[in-house]
Symmetry: C2
Subunit: 561 residues, 2 copies
């Protein structure tokens, strides 16, 4: 197995007839999936998603792939293939299109409809190129064949990319539900056919590579939901992902059966389900839906709300209901159903929502106490099927953190891929497919690009480090006014502190020390503003550390008048 | 079921012959367990633990119970009963003893040894009162009977408290491993005997009330550990809780069997295992242990490290190994065993450690992929045994968040406790046991008390709110110097910002706006410092919002010279 080392340098020029593969996101993390394929100076991009921030990235809205590697080569891009319409695969498209608005977006009918309605909000009218399973489309030197895969959103595709360098199969996200609600199976026959032809490189979804066995069919959730509807006394509130058309369908069916009305809540939920309904992916019985405002006064025993917020997002309806900050007043007898996975990193927020709802008397049903969700990603048992059907010459696990990539690599070796033909890459690592062999040849820049408010990339890692210090310790700022002619101190020291837990009067202790230090500095002929700042910082820093054993950020401000 | 409402007022005076129960921690949360019993003006405290902070309490070291309710009544305290030596049951004792150093600490042999070695670090010499299972001891009006319970630390006790008001059984933390490593079973016979006598109130551990079934025996972990030792190629690194004597024993036994040497790492691990060894709770084969410095150069295939850090604590050895910031260089072939639970809230930190170690080539074995840990708390199946054996007249679930309390209350009702004899309380809620009936009668103060550095209680919720804002958005401070005689602005505006993602040059845009606003204010005759501050805040705040859609903290500083 080869894997990247810190000392990887820039890659060599790409030899003629070779295929270069660079993931700008999605390898070493779950999210912001984006892979760039290069052949004879032309580029094909597969997916362009966002990553959601963790507590280490405070205040950040979204994290994008770093476009630096391709930003001067936008005219070389033949197309962006979108495997499906989840945010971690399409979320960064609006930002990529700012660099070149007319890149063709390639995807299935539903995928293009979801991205288009999203782009409308960004006031972008994209160039679309609709494809479907079993179709072949050529984008420059890239001959793409699309295969149906089953996932937690309808109409997902895998893509086989043929160039003279060989055949690469990129699975996208997938699982292998054998009784899918829409009857659309992952195309194992197609995988087998490609395997017979010869897959030079398999790139396959690693998200659940650590999980043994097989997924439960989405169908098995329906009786559980039915049972919940049958026994619910009052209101039923269902929280799920805003793109999970099949889950919403199950809830609508149960509501119709049990004589309840349904309202949708949450902007993305309303938008996506509108699109899905219009295109026929979601079937809504006549007279079932009511307005979200109407539902507030509807008899609770006849009402169903479907909303976002299953990940504990603080501004979503569900969190606000848990905090009694929403027109819907959750009460004894209400049932709340979290019909979604628990995305790693959101555990604390979701726990808080469950406790809040329970405290008001609701029965909360979730993945932990009932079968109300199945994963959208193939676990180890299913991944082995794909490895065995495609029998790849080279294997590169994608879509996963290190633990998942490593587990998937081990599966590949067990299934017979030679150990030295397994490439564990990372974001930015350059893999060349030359003469049927995939190898790491270098690395390019692929850092985090932060979206915060209106700015993209304006927040640096240094600013985030400052935020972490400020968030843990607060700050103390000390203002001193100096006469620029005489060098004498004419005002201050005046101290302001926030979040340090040290308040106004406590500073009475350090001000004399500070005045003494400044007087001494003046006597020593210290007139330079930088030197004065150092004196202030040292004096206050030492006092805080000795008195409180804390390390707030210390901001000395010297104003010359 | 009765449960608290926000409008609960102060409790009425306690009637003669009645028992009052007030949890100052541990109900509505998992941690800082502390319950105060009052009878005829005398107090008995059961446990006095700490709660570990979450991301919502940035920069906080520990959270204590609020002693306000008892701080003026310290002389009424007969004793503090410590059910076992976990931090969430003993961690706040050093802080309580600051209020009165000679409160007798009541506990089993190991519990007192652990708390004593901890208090030595705080330079406190406690008054100890050692007890054991099957013993009765009287503390003022409180006749206490102790019963053996099995938990994830040796020598844990439940306590039955008899007063003329009735018999209260407090289980402490427990589970019901039927093949415990030390042969010490939870005393179900004793529980049955109390049940026959008549338990007026059962207070029982709710931590795992949502988990169906029964715990796996601690014994079943040994073969798994043995298997790991048998197949490990290089170094074995085991991370577990610093007080889990039986888990450490299993690792020592496996190391001895497989011819490896063991070193302990981490201050609390070394301290606790020293105590446990001295008292004979931990049996260390001769010649097995080596110094933690020696192990660095030991042949990896003969080395075992047992360390703290199983919860992803950033300063612990394990996190530092994952970040290559430790003399032990984890490498291909090493095995890391996380032999502990994953405490809610630590998921992200632990995931980061697992990914880091995997990236360096280690095989990481944890609860998620092997049976290397069993919980220390009784799940629903076992809780029903206790309810059925004790047949309490009243039931009050303790040690749990709302979701756990509620699940435990449901179990009690299912087992036959009348619904209106189940009391779901919260921290600070006052429950009186009068004439055999437990009822909520009011509430007292029981907020969070934060330890940060040397200060206890110095950090307020307001300071934490400031930290959260600073951590998410950073701050911008604007200094203006005003001549106190003329009211004219003589210096500034000078702007400093950290963590806002807006840097020096960007402010060139707002400074003219600011100067204009200040000039206008001067013309309008605004001389007051507060008014000038408002002008500055409004001008900069509006500019930041319109330009960046962000809300950093804005600190206007007006210095008069």
């Amino acid at each position: 197995m080869s894997h990247p080392h810190p000392e990887l340098g820039p890659p060599p020029p790409l030899p003629a007839g070779a295929l270069r593969i660079v993931a700008l996101g999605g390898i070493g993390e779950i999210g912001r999936n984006m892979t760039v394929f290069e052949y004879e100076d032309r580029l094909l991009i597969v997916d362009c998603g966002v990553l959601f921030p963790e507590t280490e990235q405070p205040g950040i809205d979204l994290i994008l792939p770093d476009f630096e590697y391709i930003k001067d080569r936008m005219d070389d891009v033949e197309a962006v293939v979108l495997t499906h319409a989840h945010e971690d695969h399409i979320g960064a498209v609006p930002y990529l299109l700012r660099l070149r608005p007319d890149i063709p977006l390639v995807g299935s009918r539903l995928t293009l409809a979801f991205i288009e309605s999203k782009l409308t909000e960004h006031r972008i009218q994209p160039v679309k190129h609709q494809v479907a399973e079993n179709e072949r489309h050529r984008f420059g030197p890239f001959e793409c064949e699309f295969l149906a895969v089953n996932h937690s959103i309808p109409d997902a595709l895998a893509v086989a990319i043929r160039t003279p360098a060989g055949l690469v199969l990129h699975t996208g996200d997938f699982k292998m539900d054998q009784l899918p609600m829409d009857g659309r199976l992952t195309d194992l026959g197609g995988f087998a056919r490609l395997g017979a032809e010869g897959v030079d490189l398999l790139m396959s979804d690693s998200t659940n590579a650590e999980v043994p066995g097989f997924v439960t069919s989405e169908r098995e959730i329906a009786p559980v939901i039915d049972d919940i509807f049958r026994t619910a006394e009052k209101r039923i509130i269902v929280a799920c992902f805003a793109s999970h058309v099949h889950r919403v369908q199950q809830v609508l069916d149960a509501a119709a059966k049990h004589g309840r009305k349904v309202a949708l809540m949450g902007r993305s939920m309303v938008r996506n389900m509108g699109v899905a309904r219009e295109l026929g992916y979601l079937k809504v019985p006549a007279g079932l839906m009511v307005d979200s405002r109407e539902i507030e006064d509807w008899p609770p025993e006849e009402a169903v709300l479907i909303c976002t917020g299953s990940q504990g997002e603080p501004m979503a309806a569900l969190s606000r209901m848990a905090n009694r900050d929403h027109p819907i007043r959750v009460a004894e007898g209400d049932t709340v159903l979290l019909a979604s996975s628990l995305v790693p990193g959101n555990e604390t927020a979701v726990n808080k929502v469950i406790n809040g709802l329970t405290r008001w008397g609701a029965r909360v049903i979730h993945k932990g106490n009932a079968r109300v969700h199945v994963s959208g990603h193939a676990p180890a048992g299913e991944l082995l099927y794909v490895l065995n059907l495609t029998r790849p010459s080279n294997f590169m696990p994608v879509h996963g953190e290190w633990r998942h990539l490593r587990a998937h690599a081990d599966l590949a070796v067990q299934s017979g891929v030679p150990r030295d033909h397994v490439v564990i890459a990372e974001d930015g690592v350059v893999v060349d497919l030359i003469d049927g062999r995939a190898r790491i040849v270098g690395a390019v820049q692929a850092g985090y690009v932060y979206v915060d408010g209106l700015s993209v990339g304006g927040i640096t890692d240094l600013a985030l480090k400052d935020r972490r210090i400020l968030g843990d310790e607060g700050f103390i700022s000390i203002v001193v006014v100096v006469d620029s002619n005489t060098g004498k101190i004419t005002g201050g020291p005046e101290i302001h502190a926030r979040g340090s837990g040290i308040d106004g009067e406590a500073f009475d202790e350090v001000i004399p020390q500070l005045e003494r230090a400044l007087t001494e500095a003046a006597m020593d002929g210290v007139a330079d503003v930088d030197q004065l700042r150092r004196v202030v910082r040292r004096t206050v820093g030492r006092w805080v550390n000795e008195t409180y054993r804390r390390r707030p950020m210390i901001i000395p401000v010297v104003v010359e008048v």
